[in-house]
Amino acid sequence: MMATPSASSWTLAMNRFGIDRPVQIAIGCIIALLAAGAVYSPAFLSQDYLLQQLQIATFLGVIASGAMMVVLLGHIDLSIPWVVTLGAMMATGLSGWIGPLGVVLAIPFGILCGALVGVFNGIGVAYLRLPAMIFTLGTNAVVQGLLVLLTGGSAPQDKATDAMRLIAVGRSFAGIPNAVLVWLVVGGGMIFLLRRTRFGRAVYAIGNMEAAAYLSGIRTGRIIVACFAFSGAMAALSGILLAGYSTKAYQAMGDSFLMPAMAAVVLGGTSILGGRGNYLGTVCGVILITLLQSILSIMQMPDAGRQVIYGAVIIAMLLVYGRERSTRV
């Protein structure tokens, strides 16, 4: 039989590289957004603007990576907002507490703090069997309380260290923002983990049916804790990048990231019920949302109109390809 490329083999090849239908539609929307922007002003297609957008997308991209890992399990991490702030404050504050050594350890310490909160979340969800939605909400409130207590009375050192500035705004290689390289490393790690390791298989298995995964010999509890720890670590890393970008850490700096992160994950085709989704989709979702926000702000749309369009676009896109099957047995 002759090997003519048929529609189905094309689909197969695309799926092989993770370019499934949601990703294709998301890429189409990104191109449409850029085209619409280019009509408004040709500057939209300049290398400067695009690199700038990628750099800004990194904050959301890193957070969404962690959020996606938890969503794949069928859970959700609502503690992201204050873990972002925690990562930034712990990293900037360390040198104020332990002196010069704190400058060296700032970034790993910030990430570690985020991961610890994630472990706490994971234990609550995996072993105490509390609904992730409400448990992580409680954790968020506790982290917020701790940070207010810690920083409210006497402000700690809140200036970003040189290393944090470097990874957030520096351009060390061929003009590519270092932040984008950080995202590349995180993203590459995610794709490898999800597609090539037992851990990745276990994540999808738990998302589909935890009881079956457990009976197949997967230590489901540990995997869940690991995923929440990853989510916490990524939120904290993003907080550190944000602090480097804005030169300091401040209260509530992560509050505006939860909703875009969830939207990015879902727009990328990951099922909010868990078990289905690929990382490339999340990348597309993040870029899409960043571009949308950027274009709405460049068009000097008032805040009210911006929010309406933002919400409406997300709903409209999901109606195109994010629908559940209808109730059948």
């Binding site: 409680g138 506790v142 982290v143 109109g305 997300i314 994010g322 109730t327």
Partner: protein
């Protein structure tokens, strides 16, 4: 006797919430410098009723296994709307109240349509529709301000015969006029059936689509009642994202503390009302015990986390390990 025991066991969650609330409120009154006076109770009530209404609004979608992340925004949106419409002469203001209630129900209807006809997940739908509602609220009230018909506001936040807070009576009226008829109707049973097992409910001929739609519409309506009362309390409207976020999150906490299962299939709005009262009393307790302000957010967070961790008792009771995955 056996029926009574079963009823008690069945309603253990809401009853526990009621008991905790009574205990906390007793401590609050015992340590309050003014003691049990009508003024103290009215102040406490007026704050608590707002959250209670939003928590009731949240309960309905949760019964079906859904969630409404936009209740807080609808609450704020109707607050902004009421600060424009519930003004002028008494008939005008009453007409304004009606318009605000319709607007809140419409917001809920939009959510319901997207969830039922659009077949999107409630969580994501309401997060996104919440952004739209927040934009509209900001458009109605770009900066805080406005007014409210003062006779209505004074009545709603005052007391009847100088003893009973009107807010409490309004809350009871809403429970009797909205929750009880809904729970006793075909759609109320349908909502719980959907929460237990949507496919089974569907093949049993339960009107799943209508029930889901109704649940979101009523949720919008209840949030709008809350929004109007908020306007009566503050005499103004404000499109505050902070208020919206806080009310949405606290409403979920109140629902869980009130004994409703987040997975759907079991729960009652009355439990959520007590859950809301508990959350508000925690704040009041911080006030009477004179806790340093910096400690308050941490204390509130810790109590919230402890309250929801009570649900973990279930884990230590299971005999078959597989049961905990349900």
């Amino acid at each position: 006797m056996k029926t009574l025991r079963l009823t008690l066991a069945h309603n253990a969650g809401p009853l526990a919430a009621l008991a905790i609330f009574i205990l906390m409120f007793a401590i609050y009154i015992a340590f309050h410098p003014a003691g049990l006076s009508s003024a103290v109770v009215t102040t406490a009530t007026n704050k608590a009723v707002l959250l209670a209404l939003v928590a009731m609004a949240q309960t309905l979608p949760v019964l079906t296994g859904g969630i409404d992340m936009s209740v807080g925004v609808i609450f704020v949106l109707t607050n902004c709307l009421a600060s424009r419409l519930v003004v002028g002469t008494m008939p005008e203001a009453l007409l304004g109240i009606l318009a605000v209630l319709v607007a809140g129900s419409l917001a809920g209807l939009v959510n319901g349509l997207i969830v039922v006809a659009g077949r999107l997940q409630p969580m994501i739908t309401t997060l996104a529709s919440g952004a739209v509602f927040a934009g509209i609220a900001l458009w109605i009230r770009p900066s805080p301000g406005g007014d409210v018909q003062s006779d209505i506001a004074d009545f709603a936040t005052g007391t009847l015969f100088d003893t009973i807070p009107v807010g409490l009576l309004l809350l009871a009226a809403v429970v009797l006029a909205v929750w009880v008829p809904f729970r006793r109707s075909e759609y109320g049973r349908a909502a719980l059936a959907i929460g237990s097992n949507e496919n089974a409910a569907y093949v049993s001929g339960v009107p799943t689509r209508q029930a889901k739609m109704l649940v979101y519409v009523l949720s919008g309506l209840l949030a709008a009642i809350g929004g109007i009362l908020l306007t009566c309390n503050t005499y103004s409207g404000e499109a505050s994202a902070t208020v919206a976020g806080a009310y949405t999150l606290n409403s979920i906490a109140a629902v869980v503390i009130g004994g409703t299962s987040l997975a759907g299939g079991w729960g009652t709005a009355i439990g959520s009302v007590f859950g809301a009262f508990i959350l508000r009393t925690i704040e009041d307790l911080l006030f009477v015990f004179d806790l340093p302000p910096l400690w308050q957010p941490l204390f509130q967070g810790a109590v919230l986390l402890l309250a929801i961790s009570v649900g973990a008792i279930r884990v230590f009771r299971v005999k078959n390990r597989l049961e905990i995955f349900q």
